[in-house]
């Protein structure tokens, strides 16, 4: 299942400028990772990624590393998957917040993703990277704001590609659902996984903060049970 596009139009703004800027920064940082840092990635990640042991011992970059970690990616598909989700779920969330508050919410969701990651895997020395925590925050926010929204999604039925418009709730629940079992396994076995499932869940649950970031008109609509 691959979400491709949110088919509904914007209501308040013409263009999702901050979403696009975030996508450009992510791509630019990935370019730096590949072509400038190259094989010498370990010291770079230690300094600019979110490592639970370092955060808990107040070593390393702290808040700065927490933010920079959101722009680092471990591979091209990691980057593309996150950017696609950022575009699909971020556009209308930005529309409801305005660009600056959207940025603040994005960073907040990414931060709470790291907070949960650090709390659950406090002994881990594996650096956490990727925009996925923040993107899961956007998914949660999208679900809160547009529960009736429909997402054009690529699905394969017996190797046949289809792209129906699926209700956002099913798309989001699918992506959150596939985090739960590995997250429980991490908790029980105290093992490090290559995918940061607890950060995804942390980002998703931080979506409740979105109500603080909405434009006044969008908030009034949210309270009035009309489409935000």
């Amino acid at each position: 299942m691959l979400p491709l596009n949110d088919t509904e139009p914007n209501r308040y703004s013409f263009f999702p400028i901050m979403t696009v800027i975030l996508m450009i920064i992510n791509c630019f940082v990935f370019y730096i990772e590949i072509f400038v840092i190259g094989d010498n990635y370990w010291p770079f990640f230690m300094q600019y990624a979110a490592t639970p042991r370092l955060i808990l011992s107040a070593q390393g970059g702290g808040a700065l590393s927490n933010v920079t970690a959101m722009f680092l990616h471990g591979g091209l598909f990691h980057l593309l998957g996150n950017m696609l989700a950022l575009w699909v779920f971020g556009r209308r969330v930005e529309d409801a917040c305005g660009p600056w508050r959207f940025l603040a919410f994005y960073l907040l969701a990414g931060t709470w993703a790291h907070v949960l990651f650090v709390l659950v895997q406090s002994d881990s020395r594996i650096p956490g990277i990727g925009a996925s925590g923040a993107v899961f925050g956007l998914m949660g926010a999208y679900l809160l704001l547009y529960p009736g929204g429909r997402i054009r999604t690529l699905v394969f039925v017996s190797f046949v590609p289809l792209w129906p418009r699926i209700r956002a709730i099913w798309v989001v629940l699918y992506f959150v659902g596939i985090q739960i079992i590995p997250a429980i396994q991490i908790l029980l076995r105290k093992e490090d996984y290559s995918v940061n499932h607890w950060a995804h869940l942390g980002g998703f649950f931080s979506a409740v903060f979105i109500l603080l970031f909405l434009r006044p008109e969008a908030f009034a609509r949210y309270l009035s049970d009309t489409v935000v």
Partner: protein, 342 residues
């Protein structure tokens, strides 16, 4: 029986305290002889109401304008009558005003206004009634006129002075007035103001902008959007940036604010709150006390005042975040990179 005899009997009855009998006899006399001065004089003391006494005295004076004693008595009666009339008007006015207030609380503005106006007919210098009209009237001119009267009656009332200034500001800035009505959830009234403005600005540059506002408000009306007071919108938005700063500060302090106390991080929080408040204030159109205190502006502030508030807000929000980054960079300089786990 001759009228002189009847008069004597009436006087005797009056002196003996038989007032009703005396009055009946005197009335018989004046019916037959309307120019009987003595009968009218005695009657003026025997009739029940102030009005009847005054009529009797006036009749005496018509017959004999030189009767100074009766003239003086009539003047005293007139004074008493006037004072009783004023007292009655005051009581009536208070009663009408109290009813007007009840209707105003029930949002029945038309009835409340009618009753307040009736109260003012009874007692023109009724400050509270003028204030009520100034508060509830949907007509800006009527509001201003009412508050002017109230202010004239009591120039020491600072609240009236401030409200009056605010209304005058709105009168000179109809767009601001319409935006304010919209904030208060009074879409109908806002639409009325915009429609009036549209009629005035037809064929000018402003018309397009006003027309867009009309379309937007009609849309809001159709959607039946719930009214959210500007104060609560400002309060909600004020918490947005501090929630981010607090999260970042917690990460910086190793999720334990007591183990690694960083004084300036906590000092930054109130700055971010104030900055976020100013940003919210600049965004939400409202007649906030800050505009009045800092810029002396009534109603929602001018673009310049809002620009200043936004600039100050951004500064206060960004500075603590920059301090966080500087602290992080400082930590990174002293950071020994651990070896890669095998």
């Amino acid at each position: 029986m001759a009228s002189a005899e009847v008069l004597q009997r009436a006087i005797q009855s009056a002196r003996a305290g038989r007032k009703v009998e005396a009055r009946d006899l005197l009335l018989q006399i004046v019916e037959v002889d309307p120019r009987n001065e003595m009968a009218w004089m005695w009657l003026s003391g025997l009739v029940d109401t102030l009005e009847d006494r005054m009529i009797a005295c006036e009749n005496v004076l018509t017959i004999n304008p030189a009767n100074e004693k009766v003239r003086a008595y009539l003047t005293e009666l007139q004074r008493q009558y006037k004072s009783s009339l004023v007292q009655k008007n005051v009581t009536d006015a208070i009663d009408l005003f109290n009813r007007a207030r009840v209707y105003a609380e029930r949002n029945d503005v038309d009835t409340a206004l009618r009753l307040a106006e009736q109260a003012l007919e009874k007692r023109e210098n009724y400050e509270e009634a003028w204030l009520l009209i100034g508060r509830i009237s949907p007509n800006l001119n009527q509001q201003i006129a009412a508050l002017e009267k109230a202010y004239k009656l009591n120039p020491s009332n600072a609240q009236t002075a401030s409200a009056l200034e605010q209304l005058r500001y709105l009168k000179s800035n109809p767009m601001g007035a319409a935006a304010r009505l919209e904030q208060l959830g009074k879409f109908e009234e806002a639409l009325k103001v915009y429609n009036e403005l549209a009629a005035k600005t037809k064929n000018s540059k402003e018309f397009d902008h006003i027309y867009k506002q009309i379309i937007r408000i009609e849309g809001l009306q159709n959607e039946k959007i719930r009214y959210v007071a500007p104060t609560s919108a400002i309060a909600r938005l004020t918490f947005a940036w501090p929630s981010l700063y607090l999260s970042l500060a917690l990460i910086q302090m190793g999720l334990n604010p007591f183990a690694h106390p960083a004084f300036y991080l906590w000092l930054g929080l109130p700055l971010v709150i104030v900055g976020s408040f100013l940003l919210s204030l600049a965004e939400v159109r409202s007649s906030h006390i800050v505009w009045q205190k800092l810029f002396g502006e009534h109603g929602d502030a001018s673009n310049f005042a809002r620009f200043l508030a936004a600039a100050a807000g951004w500064f206060l929000v960004i500075v603590p975040h920059v301090l966080l980054v500087l602290d992080s960079l400082n930590r990174l300089q002293n950071f020994k990179i651990p070896p890669m786990p095998l």
